[in-house]
């Protein structure tokens, strides 16, 4: 019985073409490897990945896991920039590996590292709990009103068109933020962007409570406006702009009597 070897019963029915425009040269990935639970020190491993392995950095990492080291730890789920699990630092910038094209990174070695400012679980995997703890504190709903408002009403039986929030909770903004890097108490860009969405569209939530959370030395006033979060965001959430809008809302909000 062949166990975990899937068996290369290459099927003649399977399509042969790959979506990758055929690059001839293999990609060279320099991948951060470290298991906090094991004795070995952190290191970088170099892997050569054939161009036929796929188009994206995630394709290449999964090829490495399959053909070179089944112990390579990497998070992924949707493969289309919607779940936010495959965030990492690629060539020094925060990015989602599933939509980062190897061809666009150009020739030469590509360094792949885990996100910064979150606890390492192993290799390219970080613990997302510090990010989710901030989102839970804000309590923003996942579903928002749709901005698509065709003339006329929504379909009969539908109260009003809805859609998911843009934020995919990927943590890229937390990794890119220079303030999060120095102070884990900071509410951070994803949390403050969620706070702005809760103020902009309250959906029955308590706006005053959210504004009070944001109006704190570890809230909107901690941001040094580096705009790295907005630069890193793969989903056009604009956390830095949200922080600026929250500041304005806080300044203009009626003050409770002391």
């Amino acid at each position: 019985m062949s166990g975990l070897d899937g068996g290369a019963r290459a099927s003649s029915r399977a399509p042969s073409a790959s979506s990758v425009e055929q690059q001839s040269a293999p990609a060279r990935l320099r991948v951060y490897r470290h298991k906090p639970g094991a004795a070995a020190a952190p290191r970088f491993e170099i892997y050569e990945v054939p161009a036929s392995a796929g188009a994206t950095v995630l394709d290449a990492l999964l090829w490495i896991r399959r053909h070179r080291d089944p112990g390579l730890m990497v998070r992924h789920s949707c493969l289309h920039a919607s779940c936010g699990t495959c965030g990492m630092r690629i060539a020094g910038r925060e990015a989602l590996a599933c939509v980062t094209s190897l061809a666009e990174l150009g020739p030469g070695e590509v360094t792949v590292e885990p996100l910064a400012n979150l606890p390492l679980v192993g290799d390219l995997v970080v613990d997302m709990e510090p990010s989710y703890a901030r989102l839970r504190a804000i309590g923003r709903p996942l579903v928002r009103e749709s901005e698509l408002r065709p003339e006329g009403r929504p379909a009969e039986g539908i109260p009003g068109p809805t859609r998911f929030e843009d934020c995919i909770e990927c943590g890229l903004c937390l990794s890119a933020c220079p303030i999060v890097a120095t102070d884990p108490r900071y509410l951070g860009p994803a949390g403050l962007a969620a706070a702005w969405r809760s103020v902009e569209e309250p959906r029955g939530g308590a706006v005053g409570r959210v504004l009070a959370l944001a109006d704190d030395e570890q809230g909107v006033w901690r941001c040094h406006t580096a705009w790295e979060c907005t630069e890193a965001c793969p989903s056009n959430v604009d956390p830095a702009g949200s922080i600026m809008r929250l500041r304005r809302a806080i300044v203009l909000a009626p003050r409770p009597k002391q």
Binding site: K35, L79, A81, C83, P141, A155, I168
Partner: protein, 408 residues
């Protein structure tokens, strides 16, 4: 039969291999019934087929004509999931759009099949359809509104996992099962590699459930049994831009590129269908990507030119004997296999099915597990409202992992 109350003293332990939608829903179901549960997943949870689908919460209408069993399962689960996972869906309904004469001729068959399956429908004439969704093909004949919705393929399962954790289940991502432990012809546990430490651990179980979707055949072979499974990938394409609020399907017998699912600021067009033997090696055929655009544009013309965000493949786990040609002829329903039928005790496989039916798959499997263990503990997942997905990582961190015996 053992009463549920006595389970609290020494509940049996069920090990679930596979942290997809089925594994999460099954962990939740068994934890509610009072069993001890451990989920083992080789990567992050939902990293197999679960995370990669369109994000369609099926009304069942896509299967009403050709696969009525799946259609009935879908509409029933559609209603249950909206109740137990409020706030997890873009609840905008869906349209089946007749574009050609053939589509229009198919209309009465489709409407009758939906009615037979219990799927509510509303026929809308062209002007009414275009008022609701002005970005649809203006040459459409008519459309049928059904209770489709958009789901988040990862965050719905995270709610099952979070609730299971809160009820005492153990979830171990990045823990890959490499062997089944057998005593004679009875499976008594698993050997797994913890990728975060490199350690091999042995975990004992009263029953091992193989919930690995298209990988189920591979795991079943570890026990020397076979499951009639055919991994059938399809290509999906995510385009930048949201052109409709509702899910848009082509009104015809199923085919390639006949659905556009709006999700966040994207439109997901799917899908194609072929067959593979290895669910880890799918590829993304470029001609399939092109076909998604061409066919999708017959429903929503903007699909032809919208910028590409991603193209990927996902392997459906279809139940059926080998010999199928494209996978389209195989049912989307699920099956639970008690391998005692082949002489292997303590080992169950659940596969097939769809994200929409993940809870039902878990219920059927948990019923079988309880029967095998001689337990009388009813399913409670139809009513139990799930925790929000944001709870998952906090509960995961807090959960205590029982010390596995070092195996080597």
């Amino acid at each position: 039969m053992i009463a549920a109350a006595s389970l609290r003293r020494s509940p049996p332990h069920v090990v679930i291999i596979g942290g997809g939608g089925t594994g999460g829903a099954l962990a939740h179901d068994l934890a509610l019934r009072g069993l001890r549960v451990t989920v083992l997943e080789r990567g992050e949870v939902t990293s197999g087929t679960t995370g990669r689908h369109h994000g369609l919460l099926h009304s069942g209408a896509r299967y009403a004509v050709g696969d009525p069993e799946s259609a009935v399962e879908c509409i029933e689960e559609n209603r249950i999931l909206r109740r137990i996972a409020p706030g997890s869906f873009e609840e905008n309904d869906g349209l089946f759009v007749a574009v050609t004469d053939d589509d229009a001729d198919f209309g009465p068959t489709f409407l009758a099949a939906c009615e037979a399956a219990g799927i509510p429908t509303r026929r809308l004439e062209r002007s009414a359809v275009l008022r609701l969704e002005p970005n649809l093909n203006p040459e459409l004949r008519f459309a049928v509104q059904v209770p489709d919705a958009t789901m988040d393929a990862m965050r719905l399962p995270l709610r099952f996992f979070a609730t299971a954790l809160a009820n005492g289940a153990v979830v171990r991502p990045f823990t890959e099962v490499v062997e089944l432990v057998c005593r004679g012809r009875t499976v008594t546990g698993v050997v797994a590699v913890e990728h975060a430490t490199g350690r091999r651990v042995e975990i004992g179980a009263d029953i091992v459930v193989n919930a690995t979707g298209p990988w189920a055949e591979r795991i079943a072979r570890l026990a020397g049994v076979d499951v009639p499974l055919q991994p059938s990938p399809g290509v999906l394409v995510a385009l930048r831009g949201r052109f409709t609020n509702m899910v848009v399907n082509r009104l015809h017998a199923s085919g390639d590129g006949d659905i556009v699912v709006p999700q966040r600021a994207l439109s997901v067009v799917g899908t194609s269908s072929w067959l593979v033997d290895d669910p880890d090696d799918l590829g993304v055929p470029s001609d399939h990507v092109e076909r998604m655009r061409v066919e999708g544009a017959r429903l929503v013309p903007a699909v032809a030119r919208a910028p590409l965000r991603a193209a990927w493949s996902a392997a459906r786990p279809l139940i059926g004997e080998r010999g199928a040609t494209t996978g389209r002829e195989l049912s989307r329903t699920f099956r639970c296999f008690d391998h005692a039928a082949e002489g292997v005790e303590g080992f169950v496989t659940i596969s097939g099915g769809k994200a929409t039916t993940q809870r039902a798959m878990a219920e059927v499997t948990a019923d079988l597990v309880c029967r095998k263990l001689g337990l009388d503990a009813p399913c409670r997942t139809r009513e139990q409202v799930l925790l929000p997905h944001e709870a998952y990582y906090g509960l995961l961190r807090r959960a205590t992992v029982p010390a596995g015996r070092l195996a080597g």
